[in-house]
C-alpha cells in the first residue's frame, strides 16, 4: 500500500504551516494539489465544494484499488471516499480503523504455479502476472536457502518461467514471491 499525503495550501501562504503540522506526527507531505497552474484539481475529482453539503469539505480521505487483477475489487475502484468538516486537533483514529478494514478487504490474486512440465530437459511453469508488481522466482535445494533466479516485472499477462538445464540440476525446489 502507498500512503500519499497531499497539502492543499498554496506555496506562498499556509503550506509551510500544514507541512509543520503533519511533520509533528512524523508524516511527510508527498504531494501538492495547489500549484501555480493547478488548484485543488484532484480534490475536486472526489469532493467538489458545495456538492456534499459543505462549501469546502476538509480533510478528504480517498483509497483507490490499483491491483489490476484483484478477484474482489475492480481495477481503480474507489474503496473509500470520506471527508470531514473538522480540522485542528480532531482525532481520526476511529475513522482510520474503519478505513483499514475496508482496505484489508481487497484480495490480491494468488501467484499459483500452473502448467508445470518437464520436456526434453526443459522444466517450466506459468504464473499470473500483476501490473505494477515484481514476481521473484527463487529456487532451493534444501528448503532453507533460497536463491534468486530472476525478477519479472509483471503485466497482467501470464508469465512462463523455463529452466533449460533442468537435467543438470536433479533436485531443485522453485517458488515465486510477489514483491
Amino acid at each position: 500500500m502507498a500512503h500519499v499525503i497531499v497539502n492543499m495550501e498554496p506555496a506562498d501562504f499556509y503550506q509551510g504551516q500544514t507541512d509543520a503540522f503533519l511533520a509533528g506526527y512524523n508524516v511527510k507531505v508527498c504531494g501538492n494539489d495547489y500549484t501555480p497552474t493547478t488548484h485543488q484539481t484532484i480534490r475536486n475529482l472526489f469532493a467538489p465544494p458545495g456538492t456534499l453539503g459543505y462549501p469546502d469539505p476538509r480533510p478528504v480521505f480517498v483509497a483507490v484499488n490499483c491491483l489490476s487483477n484483484s478477484p474482489s475489487h475492480a481495477y481503480r475502484q474507489v474503496l473509500l471516499m470520506d471527508f470531514y468538516n473538522g480540522g485542528g486537533g480532531q482525532d481520526f483514529s476511529t475513522q482510520m480503523a474503519s478505513f483499514r478494514n475496508i482496505i484489508d478487504s481487497v484480495q490480491a490474486p494468488p501467484p499459483r504455479l500452473t502448467n508445470v512440465s518437464l520436456n526434453a530437459g526443459t522444466f517450466q511453469f506459468t504464473f499470473p502476472g500483476q501490473r505494477g508488481r515484481t514476481n521473484r522466482v527463487e529456487y532451493s535445494t534444501d528448503y532453507a536457502d533460497w536463491i534468486t533466479v530472476t525478477n519479472v516485472f509483471g503485466t497482467n499477462a501470464p508469465i512462463t518461467f523455463r529452466d533449460t538445464n533442468a537435467l543438470e540440476n536433479p533436485q531443485r525446489i522453485y517458488r515465486v514471491r510477489r514483491l
Binding site: A2, V4, K28
Partner: protein, 84 residues
C-alpha cells in the same frame, strides 16, 4: 386519431419555454468519484520530494508529476489536508 396541430403562436410559446428550460438547466459537470465507482482518469499531482517505491522506481524531486498509474500493483491511500 386526430393529429395535434399547434398554431404559430403556440409553437412560438413552446419554443420560448424550451429555451427557458435549457437556459435554466444546470451546467452539466462530471460526477465526483465516490466509493465503489471506477476512476476513469489517470490524474496526477505534483511531487514534493525524492522517494522510491518498492520496485525501486525513483520519482524525481519537486515539479514533477506522480500519476495514479505510478501506483499500479498497490492500494493507494490519499489524505488531502487543509483544503480551504
Amino acid at each position: 386519431m386526430k393529429a395535434l396541430r399547434w398554431s404559430p403562436s403556440l409553437r412560438a410559446l413552446g419554443l420560448l419555454a424550451a429555451l427557458l428550460f435549457l437556459w435554466s438547466a444546470p451546467v452539466s459537470s462530471a460526477q465526483p468519484f465516490t466509493a465503489g465507482t471506477i476512476i476513469t482518469t489517470n490524474f496526477g499531482l505534483q511531487n514534493r520530494f525524492r522517494w522510491t517505491n518498492d520496485n525501486s522506481q525513483i520519482f524525481t524531486p519537486s515539479n514533477t508529476t506522480i500519476r495514479l498509474s505510478d501506483f499500479d500493483g498497490k492500494i493507494v491511500f490519499f489524505s488531502f489536508f487543509d483544503v480551504w
